[in-house]
Amino acid sequence: MNKRLVGAVTLGLSAALVMTACGSESPAGGEKAADGSVTLKLVAADYGDGPTAENSGEKFWKGVVDEFQAANPGIKVEVQVINWNDIDKQVATMVQNGQVPDILQTGDYSGFVKDGLLYKTDEVLSPATSSDMLEKFADFGKVDGVGYGIPFVSSARALFYNKDLFDKAGITEAPKTWDELKAAAEKLKAAGVSQPFGLPLGNEEAQAESFLWFMGNGGGYKDTSGNWAVDSAANVETFTYLKGLVSAGLTTPNPGTKNRKDVWADFAAGKVGMVNGGPMSIPIFEKGGLKNFGVAPIAGKSGPLDTTLGVEDWIMAFNKNGHKEEVKKFFDFFYGGTAAQKISDTYKLLPVTKSGIEKLSSDEKLKPFLAALPNATFYPFQDPKWSEVNTQIKQTIGGAIDGDPKEVLGAIQKVATAN
C-alpha cells in the first residue's frame, strides 16, 4: 500500500477532527450574523414518546418555530430536544462548558439563579403575558421575591382505576381510605388480577409516588415549619403500610425497580387494577387500548386527599448571549398564540395561564385535575438541597419496601440535612 497516501489521509482526518472540535465553539457570544439576524438556541425536554413518535418534541417545536420565524424574519431559532432522563445532565455539561442555550425548557430553574445566569422574568416577559400567568404558579418561579422561572406547563395527580376489572371483582366504587384500598386490592387479586395496585417506586419518578402516599398520612418531605422531615413518624407509617401491601402480593412486584412508564403500560394493557396517574397518562392508556377507566381522588389513610401533587415545568432565559429582546418576542409569541394551547392538547398537560385554563374548562376528562390544581402541593424544589435529595429518593426509597422503612428514610433525611 502507498504509505505516503495513508499518512496524508491520516493527517487530513485528524486535522479535520481538530478543526471541527474548535469550530463548534465559535457560535457562542452575543454576536449577530452578517445579515443582522439573530439565532436563538432553545433546549427543551421531550414530552412525547421519543424522536420518531408522532408526538415527538422535535415535531412540536418545529411547528412552533416555523410559525415564529415566519412572523419574525430577523430571528432564527435552533431547537435541541432532549429526553427527560438525560436533559439535566446534558444541560449541566453545557453550563460547565460555558455553552448555555438562550432558552431552556425543563423541570427546574432554581440552581441557575444564585449564580446570576438567568434573566429576570420581568426582563423577558411583556406585562400582558406576565399578568396572564396564574399567580400561584408564578410565585413558585420566584427566588427571594424575584421571578426567574417562567411557568411552562403543569400537571396534577389522581387515582385511575380499571372499571372492567372492578366489575369483575365486584367493587362498586373507588377506594377512599387505605383500608378500602387494601380490601379492593384483595378482591382484585382474588379475581385473578396480577397487579391490583400499580406501584412504581423505581428511579423514574419514585419521588412523586412516595409523595402522594406521604400526603395520604399527613406527611411529606418537609414539615409544616419547612424543615426536612423525610423520616417522620407519619412517613415511616406510610411505608410500613405499603410494605404490607407489597408482601401480600397486592402490588407491582419489587416496586423499587419498577418505573412509572412500565406500570402505566401494564395498566393500559389491563393487568393493573389501580394506579396513580395524571392527565398526561390519559393518552397513554387510550393508546394502549384501555377505554373503560375511572378517575378519582387519591385515597388517604382516613379519607381521600384534599390536595394532590402539582408538578410545574419551567422555561427560562439565560443572559449570557444577551438576546433579551428576541427572547421576549419568542415568549410573547409562545404564550399569546396557539403554541401554549397546542402543548396542552398534544400532551394533555395543564396550562399555566388563566386564559389557557378557561379554554380547557369544558374538557370532561381534565376536569378533576383542573379542579385539583388550585390546592395542589409542590415538591420543595426551591430548597437548594432538593436536587441532591431527589436523586437519593429516586435511587433508594424503593428499598424501604424490602428493608426497614425507618432506616431507608433516615438515610435520605441524612442527605437532606447534611451541609
Binding site: G7, A92, M94
Partner: protein, 301 residues
C-alpha cells in the same frame, strides 16, 4: 566533525513528526485532555446544574468515601469484573477450540457467533429486560408454560427486581456480549500455532490433554492475555447492560462503580468526578495486577 544545526538537519529530525504528529495530537485531545479535566473537576465544587463554585480541596473525595454505599459498590465492581471475565474466557477457550475444528456448517456457526457482537449492547440489554418482564416477558412465559413458574406478574416472575437474581442475569448478558470478541481473538491465536509442533507432540506420544496443556495454552498466551485484558477494562467500565436492565436498583444493590458515578452526576458533579478518578485508578491497578500475574513479558519458550 562538529554537529551544526543546519536547516536541513532540523527538517530531517522533525521529519517523523509529520507522520506521528497527528496521532499525538489525537491522543492529546481525546485521551490526555479529558483525563486532565476529569482530575481537575474532582477538586472543584460543581453544582448539579453545572455551575462551578470554586475549589473544593479534597472534600469531594471525603464525601465519596463516606457514602454508605461506596464500599459495597466497589466490592461489587470487583466481583462483577472477575465473574464476567473468567466465565467469558473459559467459555471462549472452549468455543475457539470448537470453531477451530473442521465440521459441516462451520462457516455458518462462525457467522452466528458474531451476532451478539454486531448488535448494540444497549439493544441486547433492553431485549433481555423485555424477555424478563414479569407480565409479558418471553422467558417468563416459557417458564410458565413449562410449569416452572406458577403465575405471571408476581415477584417470582421478576428476576431483575431482586439483587440476588438480577446479578446472575446481568453477568449472563455481559458474558453473552463479550463472547464473540474473545472467541475470535482466541481463534486467531489458535490458527497462528504452527501444525508441526502438534506433529512433534504426536510423535512423542503426548495425550490430547497434555498437548493442550503444554502446547496450545502456552502458545495461546499472547492472544489470551490481550483478550482477557481488553475484557477486564471493558467490563469494568461497562455501563449499558446494568443501566438498561436495573439502573443499579433496588437501591444501589446492582450498581457498579461506573453506574454509581453516573447516578452521582445527578446530584453532585464534583463528587461524580472524584468517583471517575477512583474508577480510572482502579482500571490502571487492575491492569497492572493482571499483567504481573500473566507475566506477559516473559517469552514463550
Amino acid at each position: 566533525m562538529q554537529q551544526t544545526l543546519t536547516p536541513v538537519r532540523v527538517m530531517r529530525a522533525l521529519g517523523p513528526l509529520a507522520w506521528i504528529g497527528p496521532a499525538i495530537v489525537l491522543i492529546g485531545v481525546v485521551v490526555v485532555w479529558p483525563v486532565v479535566v476529569m482530575i481537575q473537576s474532582s477538586f472543584l465544587k460543581i453544582s448539579r446544574f453545572g455551575v462551578v463554585q470554586g475549589a473544593n480541596g479534597t472534600d469531594n473525595y471525603t464525601k465519596l468515601f463516606a457514602e454508605p454505599d461506596f464500599a459495597g459498590v466497589m466490592f461489587r465492581s470487583l466481583v462483577w469484573v472477575v465473574a464476567v471475565v473468567s466465565i467469558t474466557v473459559v467459555l471462549s477457550l472452549a468455543l475457539a477450540q470448537l470453531f477451530n475444528q473442521r465440521f459441516p456448517g462451520r462457516r455458518f456457526a462462525r457467522w452466528a457467533l458474531i451476532a451478539p457482537w454486531a448488535a448494540s449492547v444497549l439493544m441486547t440489554a433492553i431485549i433481555f429486560k423485555w424477555m424478563l418482564d414479569p407480565e409479558v416477558g418471553l422467558i417468563n412465559m416459557i417458564l410458565h408454560k413449562v410449569g416452572v413458574l406458577d403465575a405471571l406478574g408476581g415477584a417470582d416472575a421478576d428476576p431483575l427486581g431482586n439483587a440476588s437474581t438480577a446479578m446472575p442475569w446481568l453477568v449472563f448478558v455481559a458474558v453473552f456480549v463479550s463472547l464473540p470478541f474473545t472467541t475470535y481473538a482466541l481463534l486467531a491465536g489458535l490458527s497462528a500455532i504452527p501444525a508441526d509442533v502438534y506433529e512433534a507432540a504426536k510423535m512423542d506420544g503426548a495425550s490430547k490433554l497434555r498437548t493442550y496443556w503444554s502446547i496450545t495454552l502456552p502458545l495461546l498466551r499472547p492472544a489470551l492475555t490481550v483478550a482477557a485484558l481488553i475484557n477486564v477494562m471493558n467490563v469494568f467500565n461497562s455501563f449499558p447492560i446494568i443501566w438498561a436492565m436495573t439502573h443499579g436498583q433496588p437501591g444501589y444493590s446492582t450498581a457498579t462503580s461506573t453506574i454509581f458515578m453516573y447516578i452521582l452526576k445527578g446530584s453532585d458533579i464534583g463528587e461524580s468526578a472524584a468517583m471517575s478518578v477512583v474508577n480510572f485508578g482502579m482500571v490502571i491497578i487492575l491492569t497492572v495486577i493482571f499483567l504481573r500475574v500473566s507475566k506477559w513479558r516473559t517469552e514463550v519458550r
